[in-house]
């Protein structure tokens, strides 16, 4: 085990080079598979947040996960430096005010556990509004979730607004070819961006009374990520009671 562990860390590069020297003729795919015979210490957690946990920031959600995993006694891999943080990679930040049904988080451990053992350990260790639906091992060298992410789907329920109103706001939005909104954050003051091309899909959805529902699919690429609250702003529907849920993340490949 400890050999494997060393391989996974500092010595992996060296191991790669050794492989290249001894199996010069081997194809790239064969080299990869010989590495992945080692147990991967990277795990992908599919999780949901609702109600109280829809109101946390992405930094706060990171801390909630770190503490949940620590309470569960799971041996997290930490980075280097004076103030090491555990290695936790989310696919995409959730906006404050938005819960999720199937978000993805990659975590790295110090020593291997079966996904089932991980799931068992996490039971009861998360806050009440955080639940885990799936844990699986993924190859160490798979691309980062954030790099593979292409789009995200959201469901927004609104109150105090009739479905017809939502419907006509959607129609106006879809008719436009560009929609300029101010960029968020102090350092972008005075700058604008075009929201329209980031909205891949926008439609009315059924919702239980007294809600009106809408669904949207927003692009999520580095430097080109649509936010559901910005879409509501463009629809002139941001100042109504609302419940937002990210229903799906769409990955490449």
């Amino acid at each position: 085990m400890s050999d494997a562990w060393r391989m996974m860390n500092g010595e992996r590069k060296m191991a790669n080079e050794e492989l290249r020297m001894t199996h010069d003729e081997a194809s790239g795919a064969e080299r990869l598979s010989s590495i992945s015979n080692l147990p991967s210490l990277r795990y992908r957690i599919t999780f949901a947040t609702q109600r109280t946990l829809a109101y946390v920031s992405v930094l706060e959600l990171g801390k909630i996960w770190e503490r949940s995993l620590r309470r569960a006694g799971i041996p997290l891999k930490y980075g280097q430096g004076y103030n090491p943080r555990p290695k936790l990679h989310f696919a995409a930040p959730l906006p404050v005010g938005c819960g999720c049904e199937a978000d993805l988080l990659d975590v790295w451990l110090e020593s291997p556990l079966t996904p089932e053992a991980l799931l068992t350990a996490l039971t009861g260790a998360t806050p009440p509004d955080l639940s885990v639906s799936d844990i699986r091992r993924v190859p160490e060298d798979e691309a980062a979730l954030s790099e593979r992410l292409s789009a995200a789907e959201y469901r927004v329920w609104l109150r105090e607004v009739a479905p017809e109103e939502v419907s006509s706001a959607i129609a106006d939005f879809l008719d436009s070819t560009s929609l300029s909104l101010p960029k968020r954050g102090h350092k972008y003051q005075g700058q604008t961006y075009d929201l329209r091309p980031l909205v891949e899909e926008l439609h009315l959805e059924n919702a239980p009374a007294p809600w009106s529902g809408l669904g949207m699919r927003l692009r999520a690429r580095p430097g080109a990520t649509g936010r559901p609250d910005e879409v509501l702003k463009a629809l002139h529907l941001s100042d109504v009671p609302q419940r937002c849920t990210r229903t799906r993340l769409i990955l490449d490949g």
Binding site: T52, R67, Y82, T126, D129, S238, P241, R243
Partner: protein, 620 residues
């Protein structure tokens, strides 16, 4: 009458898109206790009357939450005062203040315990009661309303808010709160007046309606006398002979709060005897938690919370007699488990630098010290036993070990202070800065905070006047002119805010109306620069008929009746009086671990002494 049923999640949710940091208003924390309402017979709401971020960081409330919920028949939940934006939304929606576990209105609880930790919370208490839909004054409430209990350091002079509370807990609440609740349970069917009468039997409770103040024709207080034969003329604070276990299943907030970490109280009380310090007097005697228990508690907290940081809390952490082996032990035990420890309140000495060095290998953020004043002479007067030369040696040590930011806390307006003492602060800061620049180079930062001294009840300086506005503002200008430039940061208090704090600290019941008027004028969040309204206070002063300037600037006579004389901290007034004279003579009083100065604790609590006490004269 508002409904006493839980508020629906959808109703709360409907307000959240309009407020900053909505996570403050929803609960859902890990380790929050959710008990079934109907399966418990007594429902207690624990309140901190400021925002969630501060309330969640208040350790006293955490202790009581744990303690009350440990009783199977009690249910304890929490409520904090929402920030102004949420208050506005709730008022617009007609939503009453609710507890964070069950979302039940605060008014649905049997008892409401509100922290009266410090004076800047007083107007917030009224805002809290009003938002809960409760009448402000005890006289306007009856047994259909929660019994409203105050507790915390502020109750050592609760007179300025006496009219708004039914009961105050004087001293340490761990045992007495349970006695209070149980006594109340036995008489809950009775009218409020008779409930309160039954509570007179519980030692350590102050029930203001059974006391009557009287005044001299000149306006000074002449007595506070019981109006009922069962009411004790003096109420001696409650004291835990040994420190009760620190809660393990501590709440873990989902959103960022002021102190987002686990806490172990390693010591209660302080033996240093700083003459301005109220906490150091009212929390006597010093009790040390045994080191083995601390280590075991840290482990239990980390397991139960996942916290990556634990604070070892006390008024003077370096004074714990086993502090160094204790830290070594914890660090060894948690090696590789990514736990950091913090030690608030480090005394100015090189031993503290050693300790801090152990705790943050490599990481060097800021180091904080409180020299309090600039000159040796003034430090002797306030009983802060450190000479400037030693202080500079410690600063040098701090810079040598790699810290680049040094935070220095001073006070101004201390008894006997002159402008020369302010010049001494300036000179000291400059010397420290030169040391830093020499050792650490241009990254050196000195943060200087100079607050205005406020005389507090139950301290050696309780008879002192507040320094006048002209003096303080002149000295603030001196500091601002002299302490500027690269690598220097200076913070100070507004004098208007200090005036309010000082008035409330030593006021009597005549301030009840002033506090209420100030609140009606819009005063609240008095500790918050961005939210408070000092103008609302000034208007309340003008309309009140209270001679505010006389209350602030008059030196109290040594034999004068003080508004808190009927509340006893265990430290004798006689001891404070002697210490006051020593101060005027510039005499130090040594740390009482090394020799008892007969403050009164040992005689007032005969038979309570345990091995945790650091009073040296035990058994005599």
């Amino acid at each position: 009458m508002t409904s006493l049923q839980p508020i629906a999640w959808e109703t709360i949710e409907a307000l959240l898109h309009r407020v900053q940091k909505p996570g403050r208003y929803v609960g859902g924390e890990y380790n929050a206790v959710h008990k079934p309402w109907d399966a418990t017979d007594t429902h207690i709401c624990l309140a901190f009357p400021d925002i969630y971020d501060l309330g969640m960081s208040n350790f006293a409330l955490a202790i009581l939450y744990d303690r009350l919920n440990a009783q199977p028949t009690f249910l304890a939940e929490r409520a904090y005062l929402p920030a102004p934006d949420m208050i506005a939304q709730m008022r617009r929606a007609g939503m009453p203040l609710y507890a964070l576990e069950s979302y039940r209105p605060v008014a649905a609880f049997d008892l409401l315990a509100i922290s009266t930790a410090y004076e800047q919370l007083y107007t917030n208490i009224l805002e809290f009661l009003d938002l809960a839909g409760l009448p402000l004054r005890a006289a306007d409430r009856d047994a259909t309303h929660p019994l409203i209990v105050g507790g915390g350091h502020g109750t050592f002079n609760p007179e300025p808010v006496a009219a708004f509370f039914d009961v105050f807990v004087i001293g340490e609440a761990e045992d007495v709160i349970v006695e209070l609740v149980n006594t109340w349970r036995a008489v809950r069917q009775l009218p409020r007046e008779r409930q309160l009468h039954a509570l007179l039997n519980v030692p350590g409770l102050y029930i203001p309606r059974f006391y009557q103040p009287s005044y001299l024709p000149t306006g000074e207080l002449s007595a506070v006398t019981p109006t009922d034969a069962a009411a004790p003329p003096h109420i001696l604070k409650r004291l835990m002979p040994t420190l009760p276990p620190t809660p393990r299943r501590q709440l873990v907030p989902n959103v960022e709060v002021t102190h987002n970490r686990g806490v172990v109280e390693i010591q209660r009380g302080c033996t240093r005897g700083c003459r301005f310090c109220q906490a150091g007097m009212i929390t006597r005697p010093v009790r040390e938690r045994p080191a083995a228990e601390i280590v075991e508690t840290v482990a239990a907290i980390v397991d139960a919370t996942g916290y990556e940081e634990v604070a070892l809390l006390s008024l003077s952490s370096a004074d714990h007699s086993a502090i160094k082996p204790l830290l070594e032990n914890i660090l060894e035990r948690f090696k590789g488990r990514h736990l950091s420890l913090s030690l608030p309140s480090l005394r100015l000495e090189s031993f503290s630098v050693d300790l801090a060095d152990m705790l943050s290998p490599g990481r060097r953020s800021g180091f904080t010290f409180a020299p309090e004043s600039g000159s040796d002479a003034l430090r002797r007067r306030i009983n802060k036993d450190i000479a400037t030369a030693d202080l500079l040696a410690v600063a040098e040590e701090v810079f040598n070990r790699g810290w680049r930011t040094l935070k220095l806390y001073f006070m101004m307006g201390l008894p006997g202070e002159t402008d020369d003492d302010i010049e001494a602060i300036i000179e000291l800061v400059r010397r420290v800065q030169r040391l830093g620049l020499h050792i650490g180079g241009r990254k050196t930062e000195i943060h200087v905070s100079v607050s205005t001294f406020v005389p507090k009840p139950h301290t050696t300086f309780q008879w002192e006047p507040l320094a006048d506005r002209a003096t303080i503002e002149r000295r603030q200008v001196l500091l601002r002119e002299q302490l500027r430039g690269r690598g220097l940061r200076l913070a100070w208090n507004s004098y208007d805010a200090t005036r309010v704090e000082a008035l409330l600290a030593r006021g009597d019941r005549r301030l009840n109306a002033v506090v209420e008027t100030a609140w009606r004028n819009g005063a609240r969040f008095d500790a918050w620069d961005e939210w408070r309204s000092l103008e609302a206070w000034e208007r309340a002063f003008e309309s009140s008929g209270v001679d505010v300037d006389n209350d602030l600037y008059r030196r109290r006579a040594e034999d004068e009746v003080l508004p808190w004389d009927h509340l006893h901290s265990g430290v004798e007034k006689r001891f404070l009086r002697y210490d006051y004279r020593r101060s005027q003579a510039g005499e130090l009083l040594a740390d009482c671990r090394d020799g008892c100065h007969a403050c009164g604790i040992l005689v007032n609590y005969p038979g309570l002494w345990t091995a945790e006490w650091k009073c040296p004269m035990h058994g005599e």
